[in-house]
Amino acid sequence: MATPLVVSEVFKSFVMHLRDGIRLPVVADVSFSVASGECVVLGGPSGIGKSSLLKMTYGNYAVDGGQILVVHKDSIVDLATADPRTVIDVRRHTMGYVSQFLRTVPRVSAIDVVAEPLTARGESATVARERAAELLSRLNLPKELWQLPPATFSGGEQQRVNIARGFITDHAILLLDEPTASLDARNRAVVVELIEAKKKAGVALLGIFHDDEVREAVADRILDVSAFSPRKALAAADA
């Protein structure tokens, strides 16, 4: 089975210069991989570094050491050291991301927000909008909202726009940061179905789910992030 995502010996800490340069270690020596058709869920308590790990994988956070390897256009790219242009190309063609909150763009309608990842890859606006419409109706977003910019939508509506945007492409890797946090049971079930379909299509998924029911339904494997906590390593050394 193919393994499109490999994280190897990754270290990360934040240096807070505005607070006298204190160093906050986040994770140490993280190694794992995600295979095609597999959904790996990051587990552990809040503040342990799950989101940080996801953001490092997507390139939003820099890493202090280690490698984040993805199979991109038949070659292997290390996102830990890739230049911005390569990261953008990986995001366009290989790795999708559903963030916790939608970052809205003024004046762009919900349907175009969803269609954008496809048009950015050269798909025609008509086809992209059709696909976007399919996903939005599947996620039960009222049709009256499709032509409106999502800035004034409720939390759950924005999140469904965000999910549709993340699921519209056939990216080989998909990162999910609590995609079901503000959804009702009916829409949570739709998301579970969408994730199942991605798995069947051979997509490698890496996600954070605080909802036990959803996690049970989608996870093939749970990775306990607290195992990579540098604080835990320090405590063990002291003992």
Binding site: L18, N60, Y61, R85
Partner: protein, 258 residues
């Protein structure tokens, strides 16, 4: 991915006597890429932009531009006529104050048409049709084509300036605080417009701004300047979500949340 950069900038420095304008700036700009240069007033970002666009002669360094014929030319080895031709055709420059980039006493249509004539267009009907098309793309009503920009609001003037710059299908556009001085709803409209045009036309842009939200929305990559030096440089998301330098952290933590 195209494999050759559009612009190759090496060690650009500009000194005003003993004072530093900008120091040792190097980067490559790729086709279709938008680079934001951010920093506070006096950090050297406008000096750098003016050097890059050859409006100012740098003290040291070199800038190579990938011409349409596939050759790289060193900008400061070109003669004045060649540079001016490049600026009028293959490049655009959007000023913060539209009055600096427009001719205020000729009609909106002539402002757009003038650049077309610079590239050899002579047919009045074609020029007027293209001007109307471009006014539409920047959301200015066709019935305003014969009005002078003096009669336009600030937001309209800025949109007209953008149309004037983009009509010749430039490959590289420089923007100096394109949304400075506009109120927020007008700003949002302009940003959305610029974002759409950059995407549709696949052009490269270098945008100077002090507004990090503008940088987030428009740019792929950003450079943070302080006291004439580039102190942090990388993917826009990365610089804003995980700033490393003390000054960048201060800048990011100073954004007002709405």
């Amino acid at each position: 991915m195209t494999e050759t950069p559009l612009l190759r900038v090496k060690d650009i420095s500009k000194f005003y006597g003993k004072r530093i304008g900008c120091r040792n700036v190097s980067f490559d700009l790729w086709p279709g890429e938008v680079l934001a240069i951010v920093g506070e007033s006096g950090s050297g970002k406008t000096t750098l932009l003016n050097c890059l666009s050859t409006r100012l002669m740098p003290t040291t360094g070199s800038i190579e531009y990938h011409m349409r014929d596939g050759q790289y030319r060193e900008l400061f080895h070109m003669n004045e006529a060649e540079r001016r031709f490049l600026m009028r055709t293959d490049w655009g420059f959007v000023h913060q104050n539209p009055a600096d980039g427009l001719r205020m006493t000729v009609s909106a249509g002539a402002n757009v048409g003038e650049r077309l004539m610079a590239v050899g267009d002579r047919h009045y009907g074609n020029i007027r049709a293209t001007a109307i098309d471009w006014l539409g793309r920047v959301e200015i009503n066709a019935d305003r084509i014969d009005d002078q920009p003096r009669a336009f609001s600030g937001g309209m003037r800025q949109r007209l300036q953008i149309a004037r710059n983009l009509v010749t299908s430039p490959r590289l556009v420089f923007m100096d605080e394109p949304t400075g001085g506009l109120d927020v709803s007008v700003q949002a409209r302009l940003l959305d417009l610029v974002r759409g045009l950059v995407q549709d036309l696949g052009l490269s842009a270098i945008v100077v701004t002090h507004d990090l939200a503008v940088a987030r929305l428009l740019s792929h990559r950003m450079m943070v300047m302080k006291d004439g030096n580039v102190i942090e440089h990388g993917l826009t998301d990365r610089v804003l979500d995980d700033p490393h330098e003390p000054y960048t952290q201060l800048l990011v933590s100073s954004i007002l949340q709405v």
